[in-house]
Amino acid sequence: MKQYIWKRVLTGALVVLFSVLFNFVLMRLAPGDPTRLLAGKENPNPATILALQERYGLNKPIMVQFVLYIKQLLHGDFGFSYVSNRPVLTIIGERFGATILLAVVGLIIEITVGILLGVHAAQHQGSKFDTILNGISYFFDSTPAFWLGLMIILLFSSTLHLLPTSGMYNVRENYQGFRRVLDVGYHMILPTLTMVVLNIPYYFRITRSSVMETMNEDYIMTLRSTGMPEKQIFRKYVLRNALLPIITVVGITMAYMITGVAFIEIVFAWPGMGRLMLNSITTRDYPVLSGIYLLLSISVAVMMIVVDVVYAYADPRIRYED
C-alpha cells in the first residue's frame, strides 16, 4: 500500500518535472530569439533585452538556465506578463476562483445526474429510456463544447430572452452581499447547463456499462442463488462493485476540470482561467500561457495522486498489494 502510494507520487513528480522541462524547452528552442518571445515584441529595445538576459541568465549555458528556471519556479516566480507586467501567478490567482466555482458546481451536478441515469438505465437495459439516452449520449459526445455553448446562447437568451449569456455578474448594478451571490448564480445557469449537458453522457455511459458488467459477475449469481432479494443484492453488492471504477473516472475529470471548462468560459465570457488563456493567446502573452500550463500540470498530477490513494482505500484488492 505504502509502496503503491509512493509509486504514484513518483509518477506525479515526474509529470511535473516533464512539464517544467517541456515548458523550458518550448520557450528556449522557439524559432527566433527567446528574448523576443519573453518580451513579446518583434524588436524589443536593448534595455529590455539586457534586463531579460540578466533575469533569465540567457547568456549562460543552457543547463545553468534550466537550473535557474527551476529555482525561480520553486520560489513561486512564474515570470511576468509583458502585457500588464504583473507576476503571472498573481494574474492566474485572480482568475482561479471563478474557474473553480464553475467547474465544481458543474462537476457535482453532472456526476450525480450521470450516475443516477446510468444506474437506472443499466437496471432497465433495452428499455425505451435506455435506448434514447444512449442515442443522446453519442450525440453529445461528438459535440464541441464551444459550439454547444453558442447554440445554447442562441436558443435561451437571444431567442427566448431569458438568461444572461456572458459574464459572471451584472456589471452595471454591481450588487453586493447576498444579492451578489444570487446574481452570480443567475449568470452561472447557462455555462453550467452547457457543461453538464456535455459531460453527463460520459458518466452515464461509464456507470451503465460498469453496472451491467457487475450484474453479470459470478458472485452476483451466487448471491441470487442464495435467495437474497434482488434489491439487497443491487444496493449492497452491485453498486459497491460497480461504482468503484467510477472513482477513477471522476478523479480524472476532476483533475482536468480546469481545461474542461476553458471553452465554456470563453463562450460565456466567464472571467476564469480559460478566458485568461484566450486573452493571452490573442496578445501572445507567453509567460502567462506557460504559467497556466505549468499550474495545470501540477494540479493534474496532484489530483491523480489523490484519486489513486482514494481508490486504493476503497478497493481492498489494491489496499493489500505490495
Partner: protein, 323 residues
C-alpha cells in the same frame, strides 16, 4: 417421493435470429442422500440444465417441463417461494470459485448477509461461530472470516464456496464443475471431504462435470449428456463399466485434461453439432463410428436396458446381434 424429479425438461435460448436448443427432454430423478453425476463435453447442456433447475438462466431462455422438489414444481414457484427454497433446500457451488464472492466485501460479512436472508433474527456472534465451525469442517482457518477473496488461493476459495453452500445443510447440493479448476491433489482432497460431509449431513448431490473419473469416484448414478440430450443413464457401476451407448464409450476412452475441458474427444472425431438445428435422427450420428442409416433418419428413444439403466441408441453396444 423423490427429492427431485426432473420431467421432460427442455431449455431453448431465444436469439434474435435463431433458437438454440440447449437442453431437450431430459428426465432425472434424485433420491434423498443420493449422488448423481451429469457428464458431457462443454456445450452438452449439463450446466444449462443445472442453471435451469436453479432458475438462474437469463431471461431469453425458455424452459418447458417440470422440476419437482418434493413434488413442488420449481419452475412454477412464486419469487417469494423460490427465495425461501433457495440455499435452504438447494444450494450450488460454481466452477469459478475465485469469482464466487464479491471482491470488495469480506468473506465473513458476505456469509453473514446470506445467513440473514433466511434467518434475519439470529445474532451476529452466533452466525459467526457457526461459519467458523463450517470453515473447520472444510479445513479452513478461522482467519478466512475476515479475509477478502483475493487474499485466498484457488483451493481455499473453493473450500469457502463449499462451506457457503453447506451453511443451511441443504437437502440438495449442485456442484457445477466445482473442482475442475483445481490441481489433482486438491481436487481429490476436496472430493473426499465432500463425500464425508454428505454422509454426516444427509445431503443429496448433483455433480456436473466433464471428467468421468470424478463421477466414477464420487457418484452412485450417472447421466451422460450430449448436445443437450440424454444419451445414457443408470448406475455408475453399469454405465461406466459396460457402456451401451457409443458416446459413453467414447467418453470413457478419452482422457480429459485436468485443467480444462476438451472439445474433441479422443476416439470421437468431430465437434458438437449446431444446437440451433434440430437433428432428424440421433444427434450423435455424425460422430458415431457405429452409425447406420437408421441413426440419421430416426431419433432413438430412451429405452430400458435393465432396472434404472437406459440408453438412447438404436444399436446399443454389446447387443450388436440384435441389430
Amino acid at each position: 417421493m423423490s427429492l427431485l424429479e426432473v420431467k421432460d425438461v427442455s431449455i431453448t435460448y431465444q436469439m434474435p435470429n435463431k433458437s438454440v436448443y440447449a437442453v431437450q427432454n431430459v428426465n432425472l430423478t434424485l433420491n434423498e442422500q443420493e449422488s448423481v453425476g451429469i457428464v458431457g463435453e462443454s456445450g452438452s447442456g449439463k450446466s444449462t440444465l443445472a442453471m435451469g433447475i436453479l432458475r438462474l438462466l437469463p431471461s431469453n431462455a425458455k424452459i418447458t417441463g417440470e422440476a419437482l422438489l418434493h413434488g413442488e414444481d420449481i419452475f412454477k414457484m412464486s419469487d417469494k417461494r423460490l427465495r425461501e427454497v433457495r440455499w435452504v433446500n438447494m444450494s450450488v457451488v460454481f466452477q469459478k470459485a475465485m469469482n464466487a464472492m464479491s471482491p470488495v466485501h469480506k468473506i465473513g460479512l458476505q456469509m453473514l448477509d446470506i445467513y440473514k436472508v433466511h434467518y434475519p433474527d439470529t445474532p451476529d456472534a452466533e452466525i459467526k461461530t457457526k461459519i467458523i465451525e463450517l470453515f473447520k469442517i472444510v479445513n479452513l482457518p478461522p482467519r478466512v472470516y475476515d479475509s477478502y477473496p483475493h487474499e485466498l488461493s484457488g483451493g481455499m476459495m473453493q473450500r469457502v464456496a463449499i462451506a457457503l453452500s453447506l451453511i443451511f445443510q441443504p437437502e440438495m447440493l449442485i456442484m457445477d464443475e466445482a473442482t475442475t479448476a483445481l490441481d489433482v491433489v486438491t481436487q481429490s482432497q476436496i472430493l473426499d471431504e465432500i463425500m464425508d460431509l454428505e454422509k454426516n449431513m444427509n445431503i443429496a448431490r448433483i455433480m456436473i462435470t466433464h471428467d468421468v473419473s470424478v463421477v466414477a469416484s464420487t457418484c452412485k448414478r450417472v447421466v451422460v449428456m450430449y448436445a443437450g440430450q440424454m444419451m445414457e443413464d443408470g448406475d455408475v457401476t453399469d454405465v461406466l463399466v459396460k457402456p451401451k451407448h457409443p458416446y459413453t464409450k467414447g467418453l470413457l476412452n478419452s482422457f480429459p485434461s485436468f485443467s480444462g475441458e476438451k472439445t474433441e474427444l479422443r476416439g470421437i472425431p468431430g465437434n458438437l453439432p449446431d444446437l440451433s438445428i434440430l437433428a432428424k435422427g440421433c444427434v450423435f450420428a455424425d460422430r458415431c463410428p457405429y452409425a447406420k442409416e437408421k441413426c440419421f433418419n430416426e431419433k432413438p428413444e430412451l429405452k430400458t436396458i435393465a432396472g434404472n439403466w437406459h440408453t438412447a441408441c438404436h444399436y446399443p453396444l454389446g447387443e450388436e446381434d440384435n441389430a
